[in-house]
């Protein structure tokens, strides 16, 4: 059980009290962590391109994208930490939780290449990175658009800020999806391989969790209601990019229920090693 969950069950009255003080209805902490973990994990993945981008401008674009996401994660962790109390901070939530605590979509933790046996290493594949950014951004423009009107002042403010950022991420990744899909035989092949690999993972967007249902009663956002809009954005872009969408089906990932692929542990190990080696370091 994560620190967040145990705190919630032990100190439910405190949580409720502080939420009332802030004049906001109480959101499930797991929901805030889910949104924050999504942003942090994809932010870390995009940051892996820093210094390795195919051209200088894209190197900077992916780093910008990463910093936007990490900025969103910080605000959401701060909000969660305020509810959790007990000395929790954005840093303890980002760097001192482990794989079974993270609630991000499995899609976001995958490495930047099509599937390989086990945890074999491979070179980064730009198409995989951009297709993933596209699929996630297409979802988040819809999510943040709804949440900016949520009757929870902090979440609504975070959503309004994030919406501007993710609109650009969608524009940037959609643009590349079209250029690659409708480009050369090589770029089309890579983009199609990335779509075939990643699309099944998006089925996790539409499965329900208890904390999402509880959050929906506060925010009014029912994830299922976004599915047809998301399909429209994705299908229109794939059509324009001359790419085929694979049929749904098969395994449905469970990352947001904290049951992850083998890849998240390696990513967290790299991301968390420094603060764990020097827990109170400042700079």
């Amino acid at each position: 059980m994560s620190a967040a969950q145990s705190t919630l069950s032990q100190d439910a009255s405190i949580t409720e009290h502080s939420a009332t003080q802030a004049g906001n209805p109480s959101l499930p902490i797991d929901y805030l962590l889910h949104l924050a973990d999504n942003a942090l994990v994809l932010g870390q993945r995009n940051a892996e391109w820093s210094g390795h981008g195919p051209i200088l401008e894209e190197d900077i674009a992916l780093s910008n994208n990463s910093l936007d996401l990490i900025g969103q994660a910080r605000l959401l962790y701060q909000e969660a930490a305020a509810q959790i109390g007990n000395g929790a901070t954005e840093d303890t939530l980002a760097f001192f939780r482990d794989v079974p605590d993270f609630k991000n979509y499995t899609l976001l933790e995958l490495p930047h290449h099509p599937p390989l046996a086990g945890t074999s290493a491979s070179d980064r594949d730009f198409a995989t990175t951009l297709v993933r950014n596209f699929l996630y951004s297409a979802l988040m423009v819809l999510v943040w658009d709804k949440l900016q009107h949520a009757p929870h002042a902090q979440l609504a403010a975070i959503a309004a800020k994030s919406l501007k950022e993710v609109r650009y991420h969608l524009r940037h990744s959609r643009d590349w999806l079209l250029r690659m899909g409708d480009g050369t035989a090589e770029s089309h092949g890579r983009a199609q391989a990335a779509v075939n690999h990643l699309m099944p993972y998006t089925q996790e967007f539409w499965t329900g969790t208890e904390y999402e249902s509880k959050a929906a009663s506060v925010t009014g956002l029912d994830m299922g209601s976004l599915q047809s809009d998301w399909n429209q954005i994705v299908n229109a872009a794939l059509l324009e990019a001359t790419l085929k969408r694979p049929a749904d089906g098969g395994f449905i990932p469970t990352g947001k229920q904290s049951i992850h692929s083998e890849h998240l542990g390696f990513m967290l190990a790299e991301m968390q090693s420094l603060p764990r080696a020097h827990p109170n370091a400042t700079w």
Binding site: H52, P54, E58, A61, R124, Y168, H172, D175, R179
Partner: protein, 106 residues
Amino acid sequence: MSADQKSSTASAALKEWPLWEVFVRSKQGLEHKHCGSLHASDSQHALQMARDVYTRRQEGVSIWVVQSSSIAASEPNDKSEFFEPSSDKVYRHPTFYEIPSEVGHM
């Protein structure tokens, strides 16, 4: 991707993508100023790249890009006839006129 492959990707991009000059307006009412150049496949691509490279520290509210080949430039060899004749005509600077105090700041 190996270092060799990567540098060949980058140099292919530099060869196939034309060069664009980037102009950024720092705030409303001011002029667009030249701030650099980049390689991009078309104008929209160039605009997005310019946004990512040249406006990440709040440098701008508007961007222009223009393909470098569309710019006609003066030749360095023309320097003597283009620019030097003005060097002894200091009277063209408006420093010899008294501005009436009623005019205030000009």
